[in-house]
């Protein structure tokens, strides 16, 4: 049995799975207080203790929310090691001002780093690094992210700088960029900075979760969904919380595919405050190559995030019940149905397109107009993508509205409203390694690929996979364009599975 817990900004979903079968699911609105929301949800599944739960996977939406809102993040410092001679684009380039203000506790660009051929760009200035660490700590930094040029190929300078900083300021958490991502310094640095800023929150919330779960007798290994709907264990998340960003979108897509029993689909997630469209290919979320999926404008990260399109139309979008106009998307959120203000959902119920215990009175004209406006906007969102006979699956808290409100031929699977929890429960461990190698011959290339493969396999085991079931699912050596044929980018991805037993206790 696997328990999936998806904590979103509006709802907390639970799902108990045995293989592909949903044994139980529940959905509760969130109050913003993680532990009490979790207790409320667990209480709603009274038979939980009767099942032997082998693993628990959490989609930690509060980490994404923290980045979006710039709340709960730790002040951190950025150290970049690169050539001397100035820099056009310093750390925190392109960050939204509010987010930067929430975390930026100073940055420095010091000499160091390597070029592609592993030649040192400049020697490290040990004294300057030590001074920077002292200053950052004095200003209140609760973490440092170190990013050196070409560290995915030559990590030494990041490691040496980390040694200097930890002897100067013992106990200060350090994030090394080469442990986070591959080539692309700004995106790798941004990701390392977010990681550093999320670590204290992740530490705290993982401890709280573990305590609550223990109280309910849920002592199975605790796992976390990552940005691509794969998972890692709690220990790894403590060090790399940034990998959980946008996990909510990813697990919703994965969950939709499982529920609809399809490998390829367009998934429309109809939420309370917004709706989004994503895609499933080979049963997995379709990812952007980089950061287009990041829902924080201007902030680019080196994570493959689900490719989604969104619109601020959701079931709880408030309407004017006399005219049927959709009101400002920034109005205070209300629950789906049940007031205090009339919503798109209420209009759908009034027209008999959805069912609910309370039927709010409004003018039929207004209700039709509200539903029509919402329909048009969702259809426009869907029309922007090449349909090509792709089946459409609707999920999310307002999924019941799907068939009526989209006006499209859609699949509405059972448990659709809990798709994220189902996707979380079904997540499997994975790890990727990306390296650049300069090599003159085939033997060297093979040796580097073997090494990268071993690192990926070790990574997936340390993320929580059963060592017996690790598979290399992707392994490639690609020429880098416009350079001599001896420069390759290696990419290896390994996936595994977590051990499972079955049956009712």
């Amino acid at each position: 049995m696997r328990l999936g817990i998806a904590v979103g900004s509006a709802c907390l979903d639970l799902a108990l799975m045995h293989g592909d079968t949903v044994l139980a699911s529940s959905k509760c609105p969130t109050t913003g207080l993680l532990t009490s929301d979790l207790r409320t949800s667990l209480d709603s599944l009274p038979h939980l203790r009767e099942y032997p739960v082998d693993s628990i996977t959490v989609s930690a939406g509060w980490l994404t929310d923290a980045v979006r809102a710039g709340l709960g993040l730790a002040p951190i410092a950025a150290l970049r090691l690169t050539q001397s001679g100035g820099h056009a684009l310093g750390p925190f380039t392109g960050w939204p001002a509010a987010l930067r203000a929430a975390v930026d506790c100073g940055s420095a660009v010091l000499t160091g780093g390597h070029d592609l051929a592993m030649r040192q760009l400049a020697p490290l200035d040990n004294d300057a690094i030590a001074r920077f660490a002292t200053t950052a700590a004095a200003r209140g930094a609760r973490g440092i992210a170190i990013t050196a040029s070409s560290s995915p190929a030559a990590p030494e300078h990041e490691l040496v700088a980390a040694g200097i900083i930890s002897s100067q300021v013992p106990g200060l958490p350090i994030t090394l960029s080469h442990e986070i991502a591959g080539l692309g310094l700004l995106e790798r640095e941004n990701t390392a900075l977010l990681n550093a800023a999320l670590r204290p929150l992740a530490e705290r919330s993982i401890d709280e979760l573990r305590d609550v779960l223990n109280d309910y007798g849920l002592t199975a290994p605790l796992m976390f969904a990552r940005h691509d709907a794969t998972l890692c264990n709690a220990e790894r998340l403590r060090r790399f919380p940034v990998t959980a960003l946008e996990s909510g979108a990813a697990v919703a897509l994965r969950g939709a595919a499982v529920l609809a029993g399809t490998n390829r689909a367009m998934v429309m997630e109809i939420g309370a405050r917004s709706s989004r469209i994503g895609f499933v290919e080979n049963g997995r979320p379709l990812l952007t190559r980089h950061s287009e999926g990041m829902q924080v404008p201007g902030l680019r990260v080196a994570l493959q995030l689900p490719r989604t399109l969104s619109t601020p139309i959701g079931g709880a979008r408030t309407i004017d019940c006399r005219t049927g106009e959709l009101l400002d998307a920034h109005n205070p959120p209300v629950s789906i149905g049940g007031g205090p203000s009339e919503t798109v959902f209420d209009a759908a119920v009034f027209l008999g397109l959805a069912t609910a215990p309370n039927r709010v009175q409004m003018s039929a004209l207004a209700a039709r107009k509200a539903v029509r406006t919402a329909t048009e906007q969702l259809r426009r969102l869907a029309a922007g993508v090449a349909g090509d006979r792709t089946p459409i699956v609707v999920v999310g808290p307002a999924a019941d509205l799907g068939p009526a409100i989209t006006g499209l031929d859609v699949t509405l699977p059972d448990h659709a409203s809990c798709a994220p929890a189902i996707g979380a429960a079904m997540a499997e461990p994975a790890a990727e390694v990306e390296r650049v190698v300069v090599t003159g011959n085939r033997t060297d290339l093979d040796r580097s690929l073997t090494l990268a493969t071993e690192q990926a396999m070790a990574g997936v085991i340390s993320a929580g996979a059963d060592p017996a079931g690790v598979e290399v699912t992707e392994s490639s050596a690609t020429h880098i364009s416009y350079l001599p044929g001896s420069v390759f980018r290696l990419r290896v991805r390994a996936t595994g599975r977590i051990e499972q037993s079955g049956g009712r206790r």
């Binding site: 820099h87 684009l89 080539l183 490639s476 364009s481 350079l483 001599p484």
Partner: protein, 365 residues
Amino acid sequence: MTAPITRIEAEHIPTLQAGAQLLACGTGGGDWLVLSEWLRVVIERNGPLTVAQPEDLDPEGACAAVHMVGSPMLMEEQLPTGGELRLAIEALQRWTGRELTAIAPLNAAGPNALIPMIAAAELGLPLLDLDGMGRIFPLVDMTTYALGGLAPTPITLTGTAGEVILLDGPAGRLEGQLRPALLGCGGWACCASYPGTIGQFAATGIPGSVSRVLHAGRVLRREHGLAEDGFARQLGGRSLAVGQIVDVERHQTDRTWTDGSFPAGPSSVIIGESGGHGRMIRLEIHNDILLALADGGVIASVPDGICLVSGIDRQPVDVEQLQLGMRVEVLVLPAASAWRSEAGMAVAGPAAFGLAHHVPTGLPR
């Protein structure tokens, strides 16, 4: 085609980037976050830059192509200090003794669509609305400028560590010197080349190329209601096939620059067409997509641009990022007419890339 662009402001950057990515014909190495941020920072500091039609400027004014060479991916890793473009232009001015009055793109596609914009904004010079390729070709001398008699040399290269390298001499000897110098700079460098007059650029360049980048971006991003339908047509091209990638072959090579081959190594991609005739589409790639075959017959080739967009939301796809199972649409964008001449085909046609095929005739253009 839409009206020519006259000014480039910060708000145009995402659109320009999308257009440049498509016109890069499957190459270009990623998102160029560094380039778009660099352009944004310079525009925010110096104000918008002017895009000029060459006939509006003094034809005797000095002009040069400003661009990068090497791997855009490495630029993402070894960041610019910000002084490279000015340094390259100043070095060329010192050598030629002429101060530039305008800047031209080498090729308004891929990263080199954005680089001359950064230089123009940095130096406060107008950017000519033309280019020398209409797409990306791998070598600096594969341009309509060179075809029209303008020499790529002298050329200056500047690296992030402050290196300044000037290469002069016959165009045919340039690549042999340039690529080792480039590796010495860490894999990418900024360049000023093709010193000439605005009149010479006007006579040899492909007109409207900078405006075309913006237009392509608007179609891709569906701005102003563009590309609701007739996507390929609005880009001035046609759709060859939609399908799923069934095989990616990376050919091993131990070749290096010394034997005069093109940079990087070749690869092939096989796409199983979905719907239609269910053909097997094979793309031959060497830096760029050179050739498309359907069930063994050539359906498109250089100098026409062959590019890939995601079959799902029609965003440009890079050959370096192709993976099995990915759904793609293959588009062909016809080459500028200058490339259709006998001399043009000798430089940029299939034979120039060592492909023993001919451009098919009678295909709709």
